[in-house]
């Protein structure tokens, strides 16, 4: 979104540069040099600095939850029931190893990380409407902040159910959370979309299509032959 602040930065930056161009004097050149980064920041939302210098400040801001939707040819009741059995979630969510339902709306989640860390947290269900909506989030003090909402709506023309998901998974504020959480977070839109696609495949086809474990001829490490 292009905000007023950004427009103001571009405008003031451009004014300084324009002034420098007209006066052509040394002090004014300084103003031009000051103006250029303002234009850059206004246009891109970033200061023209190495990212390592600015990252510390931006990390305080949690990324927006990832939202995506898919249409599945099964009833709301069937889809809701499968999702509500939380232990089913790792069957289609690739970043999860295990979810144990502890009862009373509480659950224990184990995340998968590429480096072999186990990242665990407890979560609670914050809202539950039978066959319509399920919302959960990690308990305060967890290593990661994880939250999600799934909505089930009847699809038009008898095409089943539209499943809308909003999910976030970000490292919590403390240092350990930052370190551990970063290996699996944040969730990208691509990951969530693929999770949802696998959910659809599982519910419609009864299995998730795969080629893992099929034969192939000799591979090469780098696919020079066809980089695409």
């Amino acid at each position: 979104m292009f905000r007023v602040g950004q427009a103001a930065m571009i405008a003031s930056g451009a004014a300084l540069v324009a002034l420098a161009a007209r006066q052509r004097s040394w002090p004014i050149l300084g103003a031009a040099l000051a103006g250029a980064p303002l234009i850059y920041r206004g246009a891109t939302g970033r200061w023209p600095l190495p990212q390592s210098l600015v990252r510390r400040a931006s990390e305080a801001v949690a990324p927006a939850p990832v939202e995506t939707a898919v249409t599945i040819g099964r009833s709301r009741a069937e889809l809701y029931a499968f999702w509500r059995r939380l232990k089913n979630l790792p069957r289609f969510m690739r970043h999860l190893d295990e979810v144990i339902d502890l009862g009373g709306g509480r659950s224990h989640w184990t995340g998968k990380s590429p480096l072999g860390f186990r990242v665990e947290w407890d979560a609670e269900i914050v809202e539950e409407r039978e066959e319509q909506l399920l919302s959960w989030r990690s308990l305060p003090g967890s290593l990661v902040h994880s939250a999600g909402t799934v909505l089930f709506e009847d699809a038009a023309a008898g095409r089943g159910t539209v499943v809308r998901v909003s999910m976030e998974l970000v490292p919590s504020g403390n240092a350990l959370g930052q370190a551990v959480g970063r290996v699996l977070a944040p969730l990208t839109e691509q990951q969530v979309r693929e999770d949802l696609r696998r959910f659809k495949q599982l519910m419609e086809a009864g299995e998730i299509p795969t080629t893992d474990g099929q034969p192939a001829g000799e591979r090469s490490l780098i696919n020079l032959h066809n980089p695409l």
């Binding site: 696609r197 495949q201 086809a205 299995e207 299509p209 099929q214 034969p215 001829g217 000799e218 032959h225």
Partner: protein, 415 residues
């Protein structure tokens, strides 16, 4: 097992690879008795389809004997003889339930790749790049067949492989191309390309009531077969002064009611646009050479149909869209919904209405695949269709070619 593996552009090798295993409950393993090289395999061979990897097993036209089934496959048993459709479909999604099997939502493990390129993903295909699912293909001794409970067609005893093998792709593809023309009794149908798909499109056009079929190619053996077996009038495009003008003449100025582009992305031509395509494609400035499509659009009568079974992959250059709009054409295209045609076309074979084996010119062992790809691509040795026999029944190359088709079948001249 032995398998035909892609190792780079025009580099095909027969390698020893592990046998396939059941990976999902709806899988089956098939011991392959016959498998063919398809014209669309040539696009892979020439490196025009992205997302292939060194080591990928090719082949999507195959049949054989079921040797193992997953726990959810209750309609097949070891020992059944089956033909396997080249499109992989779950049978349960919105598209499959409408008979639009090649648009299956659930069979492509790499759907995201195709979605990025095309907006939505089509079904998985055997042996046809990772974008199309990355499934190992059927030019091998064995293949794993996903969703085996809805795909493979059981073949009655007594029907030899060669009569039914092409149900896996080229016969249904030619048939769907003709069906997409919406042929009215007596219509004139023009077919660009007398390769296997074009030849089956010609046969199918007659089945669907065409009054006249005109076939366009440049290779004598293909035109001869289109003329003799296909009963088509033929145009050797290197022999005439413009295909579009010739068609206009032949149809009394009307133009064909329907035009079928059974050529696709590697079209050849003798006109300026074809040379331009060739130059651009050779330096990767273009993905497709669309000469045949341009001619089909230009030649088609007003408010007629252009049906495109030929494969296109990317962004086409200089397609006369204005002509298509100006003449109110209908364009129909896409991967074949093979499952839809298996039973009806098997019935036509059983009834003796058609003998698909007529197009076979070469029978080879699996180890001769590299020679086969090259020969088929270059249309050498009068090659029209190659069948590979992984179980060794193909015989040595030199004594095996020359099938029923091609040579000796012609009646009359084609020029």
């Amino acid at each position: 097992m032995k398998a035909v593996c892609w190792n780079g552009k025009t580099d095909i090798r027969v390698e020893t690879v592990p046998d396939p295993e059941i990976l999902n409950p709806r899988d089956a393993i098939v011991r392959i008795t016959s498998t063919a090289i398809c014209g669309s395999d040539i696009h892979l061979y020439d490196g025009y389809i992205p997302t292939l990897k060194k080591g990928d097993i090719l082949g999507h036209e195959f049949m054989g004997e079921v040797v193992e089934v997953g726990r959810e496959v209750d309609n097949l048993r070891p020992g059944d003889r089956v033909v396997v459709p080249f499109t992989i479909a779950c049978g349960r999604c919105f598209f499959c339930r409408q008979g639009l099997w090649s648009a299956c939502d659930n069979s492509n493990p790499n759907a995201w790749m195709m979605q990025k390129a095309y907006g939505h993903a089509g079904s998985g295909l055997f042996g046809y790049s990772h974008m199309m699912g990355g499934y190992a293909g059927g030019q091998a001794e064995y293949a794993r067949v996903p969703f085996a409970d809805v795909g493979p067609l059981r073949i009655p005893d007594g029907l030899e492989d060669e009569k039914v093998l092409f149900l896996s792709d080229v016969f249904p593809t030619g048939y769907m191309a003709a069906e997409n023309c919406g042929i009215q009794p007596g219509d004139t149908v023009a077919v660009w390309g007398c390769g296997p798909v074009g030849l089956f499109a010609i046969q199918s056009a007659w089945m669907l009531g065409a009054g006249r079929v005109i076939a366009i190619d440049r290779f004598p053996e293909r035109l001869l077969l289109a003329q003799s077996w296909g009963r088509a009038e033929v145009i050797g495009y290197e022999e005439v002064d413009g295909v579009v003008a010739t068609l206009r003449e032949m149809t009394g100025g009307f133009g064909p009611d329907a035009c079928i582009d059974a050529v696709g992305m590697e079209a050849h031509g003798t006109t300026v646009d074809a040379l331009y395509d060739k130059a651009k494609q050779s330096v990767h400035l273009a993905t497709d050479r669309s000469h045949a499509l341009r001619e089909a659009i230009q030649a088609c009568r007003k408010c007629g149909t252009v049906s495109i079974p030929g494969v296109y992959g990317g962004l086409l250059d200089k397609v006369p869209f204005g002509a298509a709009f100006g003449k109110g054409l209908t364009l129909k295209m896409g991967q074949t919904h093979v499952h839809r045609y298996l039973r009806p076309l098997l019935e036509r074979i059983v009834n003796g209405e058609i003998d698909p084996s007529r197009i076979i010119t070469h029978r080879l062992g699996l180890e001769d695949a590299p020679w086969g790809y090259r020969t088929f691509r270059d249309k050498q040795d009068n090659c029209i269709k190659i069948v590979l026999k992984p179980d060794g029944n193909g015989g040595a190359r030199r004594r095996s070619n020359r099938g029923h088709g091609g040579n000796g079948q012609a009646r009359g001249e084609w020029t």
